[in-house]
């Protein structure tokens, strides 16, 4: 039942401006896949193209190996949960859920049975006779899910499904959606602008910016090995150091500003950018590379203390874990930062694509 999705070289534009350019990706059957990106990146547009709302200017979209590019939305068997839920206010919960089955001319008895089953699945059996306006936000979200799941779609599309819920409910629904997805083994595409949401739910993420895919990978790889500056900065704080990769004394080294030399043993010679996550820097000077610095400012964030450290490489952000009872280092103190070159990421090329 569950099917893979292939997007092949899709370009789409409203008027002149390209909303999506040469988007190419493959999603495996049963995979939980996220489209992540800032607003205006084209992630929702891509989702809507898969659902059939809009037609790509070029490129094809395949579901389960079948080309559905020319099919209208109502023939795609691709279920979508809308950001606004789009529950029909003139119908009860039950009627909303039964709608898709009725359109498929299913016998009455089967419809009743399936509706009851899916309402049970989302824990809403008791509210079947209510109207959407009489439900809480979380309940409405569940109805929207049930309405889509009941038609047994080949792919489930979720458009910012949690954006209308408050913070506590958002966490609850998030794990509920993941639980349902694993239980049903349903190929799911989840659109969000919240990196934490994407990291927590998705098997793999496609990170989009300005209509182009910047990188497709598992959440951890995206964080640890960003392909470009945009990916590096979108997924959390990063120190970026511009320099060159050179062959020196038989080793591949990164040479930054000042006297710093980083033995990397990877990368091709040429301009490059080094990405250092704040927690990869050690205030205690542990690591093969040492950098002298002076504490300029600090922020207490709870789990970590974030220091701004002035060095010959420029200002670096350093996160140091805070344990209850620990003390912060005073501003103005001279320190030595240490870093293990294996924990830094290298982006080759200077004006790397996607940079902001």
């Amino acid at each position: 039942m569950s099917a893979g999705v292939e997007v092949r070289d899709v370009t789409f534009g409203y008027g002149k401006e390209a909303v999506l350019s040469n988007v190419d990706l493959t999603i495996g059957p049963g995979e939980f896949f996220a489209f992540l990106g800032p607003s205006g990146s084209g992630k929702s547009t891509l989702l809507r193209l898969i659902a059939g709302f809009g037609r790509p200017d070029s490129g094809r979209i395949l579901v389960g190996g079948e080309d559905i590019t020319d099919l209208p939305p109502w023939k795609r068997q691709v279920g979508m949960v809308f950001q606004s839920y789009a529950l029909w206010p003139h119908m009860t919960v039950e009627e909303n859920v039964a709608f898709g089955l009725e359109e498929r001319r299913m016998p009455r008895g089967d419809i009743r049975e399936k509706v009851a089953k899916v309402l049970d699945l989302v824990d809403l059996a008791a509210l079947a006779a209510r109207r959407p306006a009489q439900l809480s936000g979380g309940q409405q979200q569940r109805v929207a899910l049930a309405r889509t799941l009941v038609i047994e779609p080949r792919v489930l599309l979720l458009d910012e499904p949690l954006s209308n819920l408050d913070a506590k409910l958002r966490l609850e629904m998030r794990s509920e959606i993941v639980g349902l997805q694993k239980k049903l083994g349903l190929t799911t595409i989840y659109v969000t602008h919240d990196q934490e949401e994407a990291n927590a739910t998705a098997d793999r993420i496609a990170l989009l910016d300005r209509g182009r895919i910047q990188q497709i990978d598992t959440p951890m790889t995206l964080y640890d090995r960003p392909a470009n500056r945009f990916v590096a900065t979108f997924l959390g704080a990063a120190n970026m150091i511009e320099g060159d990769v050179v062959e020196l004394h038989g080793r591949t080294m990164f040479v930054g500003p000042g006297s710093s030399h980083w033995p990397l043993d990877r990368g091709a010679a040429g301009p490059a950018v080094l990405v250092i996550r704040p927690q990869a820097l050690s205030l205690g000077g542990i690591g093969d590379v040492k950098i002298a610095g002076r504490i300029e400012d600090r922020e207490f964030l709870g789990a970590v203390i974030r220091y701004g450290v002035g060095t010959e490489l420029g200002r670096l952000i350093v996160d140091s874990p805070h344990r209850p009872g620990g003390v912060a280092i005073g501003i103005g103190a001279n320190i030595t930062l240490g870093v293990d070159p294996a924990t830094v990421a290298l982006i080759e090329g200077r004006a790397s694509s996607g940079g902001r």
């Binding site: 109502w74 789009a86 529950l87 306006a133």
Partner: protein, 571 residues
Amino acid sequence: MSALALSRRRPLLDRWNLTATQLVLAGLVAAFLGLFLVLPVLRVMGVAFWGPDGFTTQNLEDFFATSLFRESFFNSCYVATMAVLLASIIAVPLATIIARYDYPGAGLIHALGAVPLVMPPFVGAVAMQLIWGRNGSVNLILMDLFGFKIPFMEGLNGVIFVEALHYFPFILLNLAASLANIDGSMEEAGQNLGASGWSLYRRIVFPLALPGYVAGASLVFVKVFDDLGTPLLLNVTNMLAPQAYLRITSVGLDDPVGYVISAIMVVFSLVAMGVASLALRGKDYATQQRGGGGLGRRKLTGWAKVLAHGFVIVALLVSLSPHLGILLLSLGTIWSFSVLPDAFTFDHYATIYREGPQLVTNTVLYCGLAAAIDVLVGGAIAYFVLRTCMPGRNVLHYVAMASLAVPGIVLAIGILRTYYDIKLPDGRALATFWGMLVIAYAIRRLPYALQSCLAALRQVHGSLEEAAENLGAGKLATLRRIVLPLMAGGLLAGFVTSFATAAVELSDTLLLVTREIDAPISYGVYVYMQSPAGRGPGAALGVLAVIVVALGAWASHWLAEKDRRRRSREG
């Protein structure tokens, strides 16, 4: 507990957030509504249902025992229903085209769709005879080309046709607004779950737009049911409103039939409004939809495009035919048994210029006074409702709004009955004093002015007044220097709306005008239109009235728009 105890010790007026002046004003407003709305309507009901031995249905039974009245009752229901149907046939496709499709002339349809509303149906009725009647332009052409005629204007058909053409914009505008308010994702969700085309329209789109349709349709039903001028001018007397008018004017004020008819009309208005509000209860869908833009507009292609263009052109031509007709009539010499008038002249306007000044000054005087009363009373009620805790403030509100359900002819009969026996110093009955016409206009237009005042006052945030009071301004100074200036735009819009729509009121005018020198324009149009020779000048007068109303409508729209812009700049 302590707060409660404290409030018990505060003086009454203070607790109601009222000053003594305001209390007096509230008394005056209540007296105005009581004397000129509640009492007349109660008198009508009383005469209809109160005999020497108390409550009686004798008059009602007599009414239904007479075949003419049974027929009139049936005809009124039939005409109102058919007018709603015909209006729907015109309005539903038009609304669908402009709200759901990328139609090039959508703005034009919207604007032209509102045009019929600036002219009351009775003004165009005679012109419609000349265009659509047995020997009118259209049938002469049909006869010439195809050898048959269509009885558009025969008997009840004529009333249905004229009323539908004038009132379909109520459905068009309401339905188009409803359709435009539907969230696009509502439709997309339907498509995503497998619905398309007609099924999508029937199951999702139309039910969501239904509130707008019902609101428009019930309004059309009530307007048609209550209309007096159109059937009278088309010589159709076997309907309820003309029967009531004829009984009162020919048999006399004591004939119970007019009162029974009045009671039936009030009940029908109430039922139609009740049904509408029941149908709409809990269906304010607009507020339940979030996110995304409006309904997806699609392109019209092929045959659908041809069909849409054809329908729009025919619908607009037909709905503008009364206006065209009245213009031709006002400029034509003789127009009979011909497609167009024989020749054109400005004589009719000259006649109006000679004979009409009194009509115009009367209209300006009456409608100006009525509109001023409306703004005063409406403003006062709005203030009581929104700014005080005076007990009974909502009663004032509802009573004022209830006048929507009282047809003009019913109010006029009630006023005649209530004030006929009270004599003025010169011996004439108070009911025949022109001031009563002003009051009738004011009562009839009060709901619109009140809505306008409520809207205007709602936009003045209470803290603005509190700030003034905090800086030392008393209630009156605050009202004068803060509240009134901020409400000015809304009040003026209310004034203009009342003025313009009162200018074309006919049913109460016909009953309450007893001397020619007291007559306003609407009465003049009616009287002129009665005779073939007077049609030209009557039409010219009608054109004049339309211009007055159109200018008024435009001014009111312009004022409201200007006010809105000013506010959005400030806010």
